[in-house]
Every structure is written in structure tokens, then in C-alpha cells.
Amino acid sequence: MAAMPVPESDAGWYLYGVVAAGAAPPDTAAVDPRHAVVALAEERVAGLASRVSLAEFDEATLPERLADAAWLEEKIRAHEQVLEAALAAAAVVPCRFCTVYRDEHELRRFLADRADVLELTLERLEGRVELGVKAFAPGAAPSEAAEAESGRAYLETRRREKQAREELSRSRAAIAHDLHRRLLAAADGGVLLDLQSRELSGRTADMVFNGSYLVADRARFEQAVADAAPDGLELELTGPWPPYNFVPEELGRP
């Protein structure tokens, strides 16, 4: 079958991440399903990228697109799946969502300019994945203040409940600190992420811990998670993720 001619408007390139040169591009759907994901090699690194329409991904139209939840989810899933497939084969430096270049030349220039730091980062990430650890605690009991028989009793109940909440939040902070310290000991690095609200986590329990770790030895890390699990908390492991949280910031600087 003859290759379809590429429309002129599809001059943009969407960059998912960077791998070592020579790696095969993953066989997953691109953010624009009309185009395939390819590996554009420049020196010793290669950008995993696919063509996109600049009408869809240009600065002027992106904010509007990003407000479209269905579009956003579809593209974010495609972005993530390309990176997960790449990660299954070898180390990958993940890019931010919607890293788009106006043409192939600009993308290749980025790769050539940053080849050294990209290569070093790939070496550092080789054989490592990002694993997420979340901890959930049962929600606080509903207030009993409304059942108080007098104004004084009401205020007293409120005061006690406030004190209990403060103690709970102090003890949760201490647990989180301890958990993070113990997990770091079994990882090459770790960060604390924002706690997710109940709407976001889809749970009825409060999220009290949300960390992410760069892990070489998964069995050892999982054992550390099991050993460190505090009483009364439910732990959840996620991943392996492309190491989004362990990419040096200097890559982004012009």
C-alpha cells in the first residue's frame, strides 16, 4: 500500500519522550491516530514522536482543546500508553503532555542540543521505574455537637472534636513522614505528591499519603511497603509509571 501523502497542516510533531537511539518505536496508537509513533534518532538518543495537525495542537487552539474533557482524556491516555509501552522495553525520559514542535527540524534541534543530558538521564533511569504509594485512612466520625443538650455542652463538644482533629492530623503527618523515610531507604529517590481529594481518588477514605518513588529493585521495594504499612491504613501501590517525577528540570530550560 502506498503511503498516504501527509497533509501540509500535519507539520507538527508531538514528542512523548526520549529513548536511546536504536530502540524500536512502540506499536501503540498516537495522539493523532492517523499517524504512527516513530523514533527520530539524533546522535545517541531518539525522540518518540508522531505527526500532529497544527490546527489541532497549536498554541491558539490548545487551551480550547484542553477544556474539552473527552479530547483531553483521549490524548492523555494515548500519551501515557505510548510511554508505558516504551518503558516496558527500555528506559525512557517522559515528556510533559502536549510537548509539540512546529516541525521536525525544531524537534531534532532539541534532541541534538540536549543529547548529553538526555543520555545521562537515560543511563540513570535504566532498569528503574516509578512506583506510586498511596495510603488511606477511614474518614473522621461525624460531629456529635448537634446532639448536645446545652449551649455549653455544644461548645465543649466542638472544642473536643477540634482537638481530636488536630491530633489526628498531627499523627497522620508523623506517619506520612515515617513512611516516606522508610520507602526512600528502598528506592533511588522519592517525592511527595499532593493528597487527592475524595472526588479525585474515588474513595470514601481520606488519602493521608501520596508518594512516588524511583525503584530499581521492585521486590525489595514492595517488601519495604509491606513492612512499613502503618496500622489502620490501607496502602495502594500504582505503576510502574514512566519516571515523570524523576526527570531533571534542566532539560526544559532553553
Binding site: T99, G202, D227, V247
Partner: protein, 103 residues
């Protein structure tokens, strides 16, 4: 802790959108293309979609394409149901119904 408590670790399964979002949008975002988007816009946006995610996952569990049906996304779609409920309530209360007024 028993291994059973790690049941929620499901490598290979489609990740929760919330977990993907917090990584792809909020963090680990370093390499910039030459097309720039305003980060503030994205942060505001994540706040907005945070509201949608819970219902999204629930809907997916039930096998519903939420984006096809979510009245929040498609102003029109949920409207009919609300209007119908309003009409029934008005009828019950012996008030002239909304649809009567339209006619």
C-alpha cells in the same frame, strides 16, 4: 501487613485517570516544545476535571461512555431529564407546568 492488602496493585491494568493526570499534568513536566501552553490554564483545568473524574470512573465501571452522557459536558443531554422531573413536580403541586407555558 498481608499480601492480600496489596490487592489494589494491578500492574498492566488501565491506570486511574487521576493518577495519570497528577503525573502528566502536574509533575514531572520538564521538556518543553516550541509550542507553549499556559501552565496556569492547565492547572485551572485540572481543578475542573477533578470534578469530572469521580463520575467518569464510576460510569466506566457501569460500562457507560460518560462523555456521551454527562450533562455537565453536553449541556443539552441532561436537560431533558431535569425538565421532566420539574414538570412532574409542578404537576403534583397543581401548578401550571413549564411545558404548558411553552406551548
Amino acid at each position: 501487613m498481608s499480601s492480600r492488602e496489596l490487592d489494589s496493585y494491578r500492574p498492566g491494568e488501565v491506570a486511574q485517570l487521576a493518577d495519570v493526570l497528577e503525573r502528566v499534568l502536574d509533575k514531572g513536566i520538564v521538556i518543553a516544545g516550541d509550542i507553549k501552553i499556559n501552565l496556569l490554564d492547565i492547572e485551572l483545568l485540572t481543578v475542573k476535571i477533578r470534578l469530572l473524574i469521580a463520575s467518569a470512573d464510576k460510569a466506566r465501571e457501569m460500562g457507560i461512555d460518560w462523555w456521551q452522557n454527562d450533562p455537565f459536558l453536553h449541556g443539552g443531554n441532561g436537560q431533558g431529564e431535569l425538565e421532566e422531573r420539574l414538570r412532574r413536580l409542578e404537576e403534583k403541586a397543581g401548578l401550571p407546568t413549564t411545558s404548558d407555558e411553552e406551548e
